[in-house]
């Protein structure tokens, strides 16, 4: 599993970093920075972070995919 942020939707509300500080930190302007993959033990909090994002900007992906 891997977290992904649509940065065009993100407004830096910061809830994700509060729920999942192990994997999400904030940059100097309050926008989230992600660690790599989600270890099995943190899948629950990761799902919670995705659910709480008021901008629906955070996603949990089964595998990596890019354009």
């Amino acid at each position: 599993m891997k977290l992904s942020i649509n940065m065009t939707a993100c407004e830096g509300r910061g809830l994700c970093a509060e729920v999942l500080p192990e994997l999400i930190t904030l940059d100097d302007w309050g926008f989230p920075m992600l660690a790599g993959g989600v270890p099995p033990g943190l899948e629950g909090p990761a799902r919670e972070a995705v659910r709480l994002c008021p901008r629906l900007a955070l996603k949990l992906l089964a595998h990596t995919r890019s354009r």
Binding site: N6, M7, D28, F31, M33, S66, R67
Partner: protein, 435 residues
């Protein structure tokens, strides 16, 4: 290696096959577009359409053997893009001649001088992927020339594929692939968030082949003349020729066509060499890398060659500074321009690049920059977080400046600048981005 397909046979008399450079641009001085009659006299009639799927596969195999890679900056193998789109229905072709980079002129010069070669390539690409339509997005400075060339072909009933021209948005980020699609669809020249590949779902959801216009021009010549002809110049790993823009402190700035692998110093001497003692070069574009010109002189202009000095080919720009110019002042102007060119969609780009440009300006002006913060911000903003690579490219360019101009940074921190050249700036940025 695959067996050479029948399509490899040259379909025109050998004396018409351009045996030397330039291949893409008019041979000799010309400031006018090559008309259709002159174009056909030079290159022959475009090859017959690829009506069967087997013939399309042969064309793609030929492009693969030729080793053509994209000339818009990313250098992606063209045959792989062709194959990805050819396997789908209702495909469409887009030729990207947006060229939003202020210092680069190679796509404008190509479209302005050899519009029919790009159109030949667009038609060939359409035939190969089974598309009936191709759109050329051309920089506004040359879009009328391309539109006139399209009308000329329509009157001559030359093409089966329907060609059209869309004037590009004249903005830096407008040339990014998804931004080009966004511009055609909705008149908004900003990148779209990463999603499905354009080859799967691009313009209006259709499988889309998007190629830089120079790539299309090369494709137009590979289809009739074959892979062997194409790879007669260039390196084994990177065959063919490429267009290079020489800018800045060069005696004759402009666009030159060179064999890939030509040493950087030789490329510069095509433009009469640097005016005055050479200083640093910015190679690749404003997303490129600063490198010492003496160190770069003997390095082959190819991805593999430039990699030895930590540089990428990018879109083929070499901008030269004279030894008496301040590289930090130039970097600050470009950084401010790039920060102002953010599409404004992603927070780290909007706030981060502005803050970074501010620190680089303080550094250039000797106003006591906070170097620790600057380095932290470069790490935060340049780590692939945005919808496009605008912040990443900007950060790469600035980081290379901080590495190359480290002695000058020491001077600036102590309050003096070793640059004696005019502070007005040598590398072009639009007036609106100047402080």
């Amino acid at each position: 290696m695959t067996a050479r397909p029948a399509s490899a046979q040259a379909t025109v008399a050998d004396d018409r096959v351009p045996a030397r450079l330039p291949r893409l641009l008019p041979d000799g001085f010309s400031d006018k577009p090559t008309c259709l009659a002159d174009h056909l006299a030079r290159y022959g009639q475009p090859v017959a359409p690829a009506q069967s799927s087997r013939r399309r596969e042969e064309f793609i195999a030929e492009v693969e053997i030729a080793g053509l890679a994209g000339r818009g900056g990313a250098g992606f193998p063209t045959a792989r893009k062709l194959a990805a789109v050819a396997s789908r229905r209702h495909a469409i072709v887009i030729g990207n001649g947006t060229e939003g980079e202020p210092a680069s002129t190679k796509d404008k010069v190509l479209l302005g001088r050899s519009p029919h070669l790009v159109l030949d390539g667009a038609v060939a690409a359409a035939e190969i992927v089974g598309a009936t339509e191709a759109i050329i997005v051309a920089h506004p400075a040359v879009s009328d020339i391309v539109a006139a060339a399209v009308s000329e072909r329509r009157r001559a009933r030359l093409d089966r594929a329907r060609l059209s021209v869309v004037p590009a948005a004249d903005e830096f980020v407008a040339g990014e692939a998804s931004a080009v699609v966004h511009w055609i669809e909705r008149g908004i020249p900003t990148p779209k968030p990463p999603g499905r590949r354009l080859s799967e779902s691009g313009l209006h959801g259709r499988p889309t082949l998007l190629q830089n216009v120079e790539t299309l021009a090369h494709l137009a010549l590979i289809t009739p003349y074959g892979a062997d002809w194409f790879s007669a110049v260039g390196t084994v790993a990177e065959p063919g020729s490429m267009l290079v823009t020489l800018a800045g402190a060069v005696r004759y700035p402009g666009v030159y066509e060179v064999a890939i692998g030509t040493p950087v110093g030789e490329v510069l001497s095509l433009g009469g060499g640097t005016s005055g003692p050479p200083g640093a070069l910015l190679v690749g574009g404003y997303f490129g890398t600063w490198v010492d010109s003496v160190r770069a002189a003997g390095v082959p202009l190819s991805a593999a060659g430039l990699q030895q000095v930590g540089v990428g080919v990018g879109a083929g720009l070499i901008a030269a500074l004279p030894a008496n110019a301040c590289g930090l002042a130039e970097t600050a102007r470009i950084a401010r321009y790039l920060a102002s060119s953010s599409a404004g969609q992603c927070g780290p780009c909007v706030f981060g690049l502005d803050a970074i440009a501010g620190q680089v300006e303080r550094l250039a002006d000797g106003r006591g920059p906070d170097m620790a913060r600057l380095h932290r911000w470069l790490g935060q903003v340049g780590s692939g977080r945005g919808a496009c690579k605008h912040p990443d490219g900007t950060v790469r360019m600035i980081a290379s400046a901080l590495a190359l101009f480290s002695r000058e940074i020491d001077h600036h921190v102590r309050g003096w600048c070793s640059g004696s050249a005019s502070r007005a700036g040598l590398l072009p940025v639009p007036a609106w981005s100047l402080r």
